[in-house]
C-alpha cells in the first residue's frame, strides 16, 4: 500500500481506533468520509467505518449530509444544454464527411 492509498489516521492511534482493526474513533471516521462514500477505502477499513457510523450519533447524520450533497451535485450537475447553432453546424459537417467518403469510394 502506498501512502496515497492509506486511509487517513490508519496506524495512528487517536484514542478511539487501533491499528489492529478494533473500534474506530469519530475523528478517523470523519476524516475518511469522502473516501468512504466514494467506495474508495480498502474493504476492511471501510467495514470499520461502517460499523462506527452505524452506532455513532455524531457521525451518522454527518455522513448522511455529505451523501446528500454528493447526490445533489450529481443530479444537478449533469444538466444538458441546448444549442441550435451547434446542431446546425454539426449537420453541415456530417454532410461534408458524407460527401468526402462518397468521393473516396470512386
Amino acid at each position: 500500500m502506498t501512502d496515497d492509498q492509506r486511509p487517513p489516521g490508519q496506524g495512528v492511534d487517536r484514542g478511539g481506533g487501533s491499528a489492529a482493526g478494533g473500534a474506530l474513533g469519530c475523528e478517523d471516521a470523519m476524516k475518511s468520509v469522502f473516501e468512504y462514500l466514494d467506495g474508495e477505502l480498502p474493504p476492511n477499513y471501510s467495514e470499520r467505518v461502517r460499523r462506527h457510523i452505524e452506532m455513532c450519533k455524531r457521525c451518522y447524520p454527518y455522513f448522511n449530509f455529505e451523501q446528500a450533497f454528493l447526490d445533489y451535485l450529481h443530479d444537478r450537475g449533469v444538466k444538458p444544454a441546448r444549442s441550435d447553432r451547434l446542431e446546425e453546424r454539426l449537420r453541415t459537417l456530417l454532410g461534408e464527411v458524407d460527401t468526402e467518403e462518397a468521393e473516396g469510394c470512386d
Binding site: F34, D38, E40, P61, Y62, P80, E87
Partner: protein
C-alpha cells in the same frame, strides 16, 4: 440520407444536448471551447461509426471520446499550471454550521440548477476537472489519476478541496437568498 447517417442521427446525435452540457462543465462554461469539443467528438464518432456496435451504450461511448479529446487538448495546451492557493475558510466543511438547523441538507434542493452549474464551472481548472470526472461522470480515483497523469493522492486532495469550495459557495448563496440562516 445514407444508412450510416440515419443510424448516427438516431443513436448518436440524440445525445447532443447531454454532451454539450458535459462539455460546458469541462471547459468551465467557455461556450466556444465547448462547441468545438462537441464538434470534434461527434466528427470522430461519425468517422468511427462502423466500429460502433449498434444497440450498445452509445452515450457512454460518446462520453469517453469527449473526455479523451478534452484531456488530450488539455495536455497539449497546458501552460504551467498555477497551483490553487489553499483557502482556510472556503475549504471548510459546512455541516457544523447546519447540524442544528438543517442536518439533512434540505436547503440544497431550493437552490436553482443554474447556481450549482455556475459554481462547478467557476472552479479553478485543477479542481473542476476532477469534480466533473468523479461527481458528474462517476469515475474512480485511480482512473482519474491515470487520465490526468497525477498521483492518486493529488486527485483526492483536489477533489475534496473542490467539494468543500462548492459547499461553501452554495451555503453562502443559500444564506444570501434567505433559505437558511447563517450558523455560528
Amino acid at each position: 440520407m445514407s444508412e450510416k447517417r440515419e443510424g448516427f442521427e438516431a443513436e448518436a446525435l440524440i445525445h447532443l444536448d447531454g454532451l454539450y452540457g458535459l462539455a460546458l462543465r469541462f471547459t468551465g462554461g467557455d461556450d466556444a471551447a465547448a462547441q468545438d469539443l462537441v464538434q470534434d467528438t461527434m466528427l470522430k464518432a461519425y468517422r468511427a461509426w462502423d466500429n460502433f456496435q449498434s444497440g450498445t451504450n452509445c452515450r457512454a461511448w460518446l462520453t469517453t471520446i469527449l473526455r479523451n479529446t478534452f484531456i488530450n487538448d488539455l495536455r497539449r495546451t497546458q501552460k504551467r499550471p498555477v497551483p490553487v492557493e489553499f483557502d482556510e475558510v472556503a475549504e471548510r466543511p459546512i455541516y457544523p454550521q447546519l447540524q442544528g438547523t438543517d442536518p439533512e441538507g434540505r436547503f440544497f434542493e431550493r437552490i436553482v440548477d443554474e447556481e450549482v452549474i455556475r459554481a462547478i464551472e467557476e472552479l479553478p481548472e485543477d479542481f473542476r476537472v476532477p469534480v466533473v470526472l468523479a461527481d458528474l461522470e462517476g469515475l474512480g480515483y485511480q482512473e482519474i489519476s491515470e487520465l490526468l497523469e497525477i498521483p492518486v493522492g493529488t486527485v483526492k486532495s483536489r477533489l475534496f478541496r473542490a467539494r468543500r469550495r462548492l459547499q461553501q459557495r452554495l451555503y453562502s448563496y443559500a444564506v444570501e437568498m434567505g433559505y437558511i440562516r447563517r450558523g455560528e
